[in-house]
Symmetry: C2
């Protein structure tokens, strides 16, 4: 309990509790000198920072308490090397004592950096197993903290994919964006690039090989190849594919992994592929048709949602997934993890994606011009009962 000379009669800092505001370890040199230290400027109290929401302490408060100038406090925080050890110590003590934390708005205004990263957060369609972006955001939030940033979410306007970005950019609300959802090409990326806005894409610039922005992606083809090889190794030779529309870049990429794996073993893919919407009923119907017409013994799917559709068909027909027909999905969603029997699935290393995204972001924020680096990560296969 640090007890500074308190104004007599005043409410004092009766609240007691919250001295431990600052993380900075043990109290240190700011320790109680006891009341009655008649030093000159009568370093009075940090006016109970707790209690009602009084305004938080400012740089000036810290400076006064530490007996230095405001600038010195600023330096203590941003350029500690510039201070003499004892001064630094004294300032830090004052900081923790007051529970001081620099005002973000003021700092932003001055440095032109909000330490915020914007990301469009589009709702997950109901009735699917897709939650990749949700999982990714969790990792992104964690990683951003490492570099002192926070994640700002904004809603997507289905009409205008660029709307949310534009306003945040013009109001300098965020330092950078993480652009996602690049299935059908990436208008946001092109737009952001044209604006000169710092951003990193989760997803390759499929539709624009000349793009100059940094991106991070997962090698979907490698994932489906992993899945297909796994099935081939288990003796399957007629392995079907259920994927998405042809104009979906990600879908075509994943499809190629399946096709290449089969071709590499001299197996044909003809009649074994299907393209549908990413919905459970679509996967269900597609698998029923394939089963009837091509008699595959295994399925590789572009998503867990489609794979669940296959499981529906198998259940309909009294077939056991994994024993009668093998199924592998993509995304290692919660659904794959908890469905009875378990659904084997290709798992994207989203934590790693977040790490790379933040790394690229950090680089981009110091670089004057974007450095067009792409990082391609390899997924893994989680094998469960369905294969």
């Amino acid at each position: 309990m640090v007890r500074r000379p308190s104004r007599p009669g005043g409410p004092d800092d009766a609240s007691g509790a919250h001295d431990d505001a600052g993380p900075g370890g043990p109290a240190g040199p700011a320790g109680p000198t006891g009341p009655g230290t008649p030093s000159a400027p009568a370093p009075s109290v940090p006016s109970t920072p707790s209690g009602p929401s009084s305004t938080p302490p400012t740089l000036a408060d810290v400076a006064e308490l530490a007996g230095v100038s405001r600038q010195t406090v600023s330096n203590a925080l941003n350029n500690p090397d510039l201070l003499r050890a004892d001064t630094l110590e004294r300032v830090r003590a004052a900081v923790t004592q007051l529970g001081y934390s620099p005002n973000r708005a003021a700092r932003s205004l001055r440095t032109r950096s909000s330490r915020l990263v914007g990301m469009r957060f589009a709702p997950v369609p109901e009735g699917t197993a897709n939650a990749t972006m949700d999982r990714f955001v969790h990792s992104l939030v964690e990683e951003c903290r490492e570099v002192g940033h926070h994640v700002l979410l904004f809603p997507g306007d289905p009409e205008d994919p660029v709307a949310g970005y534009d306003e945040l950019l013009r109001s300098t609300a965020v330092d950078a964006f993480v652009a996602t959802d690049t299935w059908l090409g990436n208008p946001q990326a092109a737009w952001l690039e044209a604006q000169g806005a710092p951003f990193v894409a989760f997803g390759r610039p499929w539709d624009n090989p000349a793009a100059r922005h940094p991106w991070v992606d997962v090698d979907g083809a490698a994932g489906t190849r992993l899945a297909t090889d796994h099935l081939l190794d288990r003796g399957h030779e007629r392995i079907a594919w259920i994927g998405w529309r042809k104009d979906n870049f990600i879908g075509e990429d994943r499809r190629s992994g399946w096709a290449d794996a089969l071709h590499d073993r001299g197996l044909s893919t003809s009649g074994l592929a299907s393209r549908v919407e990413d919905l459970v009923p679509s996967g269900r119907e597609a698998s029923a048709v394939l089963l009837d017409e091509a008699a595959p013994t295994a399925f590789v799917c572009a998503s867990d949602t489609l794979a669940m559709g296959v499981l529906h068909t198998l259940a309909d027909r009294g077939l056991a997934a994994g024993r009668d027909v093998a199924v592998v999905g993509f995304d290692d969603s919660q659904v794959a993890q908890v469905v009875p029997g378990g659904l084997s699935s290709v798992r994207q290393p989203l934590e790693q994606v977040a790490v790379e995204v933040v790394r690229a972001l950090a680089e981009r924020l110091v670089a004057p011009r974007p450095t067009a680096t792409g990082v391609l990560l390899t997924p893994t296969l989680t094998v469960r009962g369905s294969s």
Copy 2:
């Protein structure tokens, strides 16, 4: 293409493309009058704010273009009623022309409002079906936009539940918090209340009836009662419960709905309840034991995760969910939606929760003192094949 008096020799606004910067519907008055319209202020166009990332236009730029003072522009934005119609029109034209959007940092600094809402975003445990918070965040983001706010995510420190809140609060980074995850009481809420920090809780102050903060919650007991009544109506009389530890307030609440529904029909609950961890294997084991020892014909579960455990057991024993044994889960997760056969589940109205949370937030932000209002919403039951 709008062409302002450009500095000769300068790169000028060559980029062309992006006139559509502003959302504001059809071009309106700023429309191209074509080159060579020598009107006074030369109402030029949205001056390619694009190009390289030059600094965005400021209030002063708008003022100059509109031929008024800076505060007039400010008023046009914040108190349009104060302006004469024609002046307002002129300013607005300048705003859209320049693609002006007020600098957030500056505005925050001045108004002491960041228009940001903070929320701790804790990772979803792997292997469960729980994604309630993810779904909620989507709705929250949407709702916040309605009132001109954005959502700021911060990671949770498992050690110190208050850590993230504290720093954001002291740095005035957010206007308010949405406090979630109140299963075991709500230390954050108590702490935030003590700090006088504006916040709304998603979840009742279970452990502190004297709490004075606004909250929104879903009536879990009503949900499980709905589920139980549904099963009773279908003729089930031996309905088992699989829930959580006794110290979990939410779990006990949900349990009471089940128990009350049975008691109301004069049925006993003894031997029919089980308390376990919220994991699939736990639900699986618990249901196996219950099936052996109490021979229930139906299960109501505190979560979809546990319900999936029941489905595992049924699959193990060759029993058909819905035909041989009925199962109802809680949360209407993706898993419930796509699992073969479908899992009936109690659905929380998260969109509505978000609406109420934001409403309460808005109220709290204008109220000097917190008004202790609680809103309790009623869930619905989604019936699928499992019951």
